[in-house]
């Protein structure tokens, strides 16, 4: 047999777990304001996340999917995007969504059981959370088809996890994106666990980036705990898409430091030691070390940031908690552009029982 096709997968990291540059830093890291802003956004996201879990534990929020440990990947990828690009998230990419202009109160509303949380005041064209795994990859590909069709210099970005790479929709999206050279970036956030199923049971491939090979598109792997690497390489992939050179798959390797959601107990299926090791390479420590080494960060600044972040989160929590339930008829009012006649009767019926649904259940 002769080799007729071959592949290799490149890996990139700029900041090692101790915050030391492992190679020359890219241009975006020369701007200290940018570096500080990236750190601020990651910190705010982490504080938001802790608060949301606390709200769930105290009965003020529904089931919530934590983003702990994913901050560099999420914030980094969104900061690489332009405002006119479109994001198709999964369901825990808060750092990315905040960077895109979604508010903390909107995210809380969503997990607090209110559809208005997906009516983003900020990025009006971004897709809402997507719970059926990897189905959003196709929406990103479709959005990219519309940009291509109109000759717009815009890109779509989808995010899914390691488990999502086993779904048909993930491969189907990459495949059409390759076939039509679509301006789209597929971001895999490999956090090693799909609820209780470890990556080793998900696939036999050495990397998830190489899933791109079957679709004939470039695939790279980056350190997902290194925000500089994520932002740099997503930026390169977006530039490529904007130039009409087609899609890119980026695997960001990180770790889910939390349970899958607040309804999950990860101690049932994974060892403490593994999580402890992961805490040593998480994204905030290295950025903080790097900023400290540059002489632009210290304990006072850290304390001030923690306080301002907590205040910002608290304000969002108040906005969320002070938002009254939408009227009962709102469940009918967005089904179609115009309410079909037969639904009017059911709408009237729901309104008759009003906000309490007539009182007791079961």
């Amino acid at each position: 047999m002769e080799t007729i096709a071959d592949f290799e997968i490149k890996y990139s990291q700029f900041l090692d777990p101790q915050g030391k540059p492992s190679k020359d830093m890219p241009a975006l890291a020369k701007d200290t304001d940018e570096l500080l802003d990236m750190y601020r956004q990651m910190t705010e996201t982490r504080i938001f996340d802790a608060k949301a879990i606390n709200l769930q534990r105290t009965g003020k929020l529904g089931t919530y999917a934590s983003c702990l440990g994913h901050e560099a990947t999420h914030v980094g990828l969104a900061l690489a995007m332009q405002e006119s690009d479109v994001l198709a998230p999964s369901y825990r990419e808060y750092g990315a969504m905040f960077a895109r202009g979604v508010t903390m109160a909107e995210i809380l509303l969503y997990w607090g059981g209110d559809e208005r949380g997906s009516d983003f005041a900020g990025p009006r064209n971004d897709f809402p959370f997507c719970v059926p795994i990897a189905t959003q990859c196709l929406h990103a590909a479709g959005a990219a088809m519309s940009f291509q069709h109109r000759g717009e210099k815009r890109c779509a970005v989808s995010i899914n996890g390691d488990g999502g790479t086993s779904e048909g929709a993930f491969y189907e999206a990459m495949n059409i994106a390759g076939a039509r050279s679509l301006p789209v970036v597929f971001m895999i956030v490999n956090n090693k666990w799909a609820i209780s199923v470890p990556i080793e049971m998900q696939t036999a491939t050495e990397t998830l980036a190489q899933k791109a090979v079957a679709a004939g598109i470039p695939g790279i792997q980056v350190d997902g705990n290194d925000i500089v690497a994520v932002r740099h390489w997503v930026g390169k992939a977006l530039e490529r898409g904007r130039r009409g050179e087609g899609p890119t798959l980026i695997e960001a390797v990180t770790y889910r430091l939390s349970d899958h959601t607040t309804a999950d107990d990860s101690s049932r299926y994974r060892k403490k030691d593994e999580v402890e090791v992961a805490w040593k390479v998480e994204p905030l420590i290295r950025m903080r070390s790097y900023l400290t080494d540059l002489g632009i960060w210290d304990d006072d600044k850290e304390q001030a940031l923690l306080e301002s972040s907590a205040a910002k989160v608290d304000e969002a929590v108040q906005t969320y908690l002070n938002t009254p339930k939408a009227p009962v008829e709102s469940m009918f009012d967005y089904m179609y552009e115009e309410l079909p006649e037969f639904l009017e009767e059911q709408r009237d019926h729901a309104m008759k029982y009003g906000d309490t649904n007539g009182g007791d259940h079961g």
């Binding site: 479109v86 198709a88 559809e115 208005r116 997906s118 009516d119 983003f120 009006r124 064209n125 897709f127 809402p128 997507c130 059926p132 189905t135 990859c137 196709l138 929406h139 990103a140 590909a141 479709g142 959005a143 990219a144 088809m145 519309s146 940009f147 069709h149 779509a156 048909g168 929709a169 189907e172 999206a173 495949n175 059409i176 076939a179 039509r180 709102s330 469940m331 967005y334 089904m335 179609y336 552009e337 079909p340 006649e341 037969f342 639904l343």
Partner: protein
Amino acid sequence: MAEVSLIDALTMAMSWELEHDPDVVILGEDVGVNGGVFRATAGLQNKFGEDRVMDTPLAEGMIAGVSIGMAAQGMRPIAEIQFMGFIYPTVDQIINHAGRIRNRTRGRLTCPMVLRAPYGGGIHAPEHHSESTEAIFSHMPGVRVVIPSSPARAYGLLLAAIRDPDPVVFLEPKRIYRLHKQNVEDNGKALPLDVCYILREGTDVTVVTWGAMTFETIKAVDQLAKKGISCEVIDLATISPIDYETILESVEKTGRLVIAHEAARSCGVGAEIAAIVAEKGMYDLKGPIRRVTGYDVIMPLFRREMDYMPSVMKVADVIQESMQDG
């Protein structure tokens, strides 16, 4: 005005809309150079270019998913699924996303797309090509299901479906794609959705039907007219949501209801019509509501497919049975 078949009328409607709305695109398997396996898109790629009429990779879930992505960003995709038997991979996307995106974003994003597919039996097709499973999509809130039964309604209803601001599953009774021709003016005029069409006015029995089964029904009704039985034939046309008012008004007049559909009986669309008439029109009825439908079995391969489906005689027999009431 041209005399055209049902499938020609569909091509005309898509051509009109491609010409008049730059946001409209067609995508699917073999829809381009080949013009679709039934030729519904014949000539359209040649006329409007590869950017507007796109052959896609072979993955139905993908076709639905990228259509939703396009529609959410302001385009109006018309997606073709080659046969109803291959539509099921789209169900995830249609149910979880197409029908929900307006509601879950409070109207921020919408999904003005059409998912077209030929459906139904009677053309001696291979396995998985002949089922009538319109009820699956009819159960789904947020999605319209539309079925034409003549060239004129195919033209007008497809235009309406493309222009509708919400997703429409447009199912085409392929047995009557070329069964008869009709004069259809290519004037870009849509017909209303969400309403039934009365094909025959009558006073004794209301017969509700749709798609290809309108042909068996009309034949049966014409035979019975000679015996002095006057039937009102209603083409449901929009299968979901159902225009109950027209049906209830007719039942008020006739006092008898027969529902004829090709799909299997249990949990079929006929069951919903029967339930509504039982709820709201019970006291107008002179006797039980009757259904003549496909059986609750797997659609047989083609040696026996016609025996599965309601024939003219089966429809006529049930109408005559209903005449014994009251």
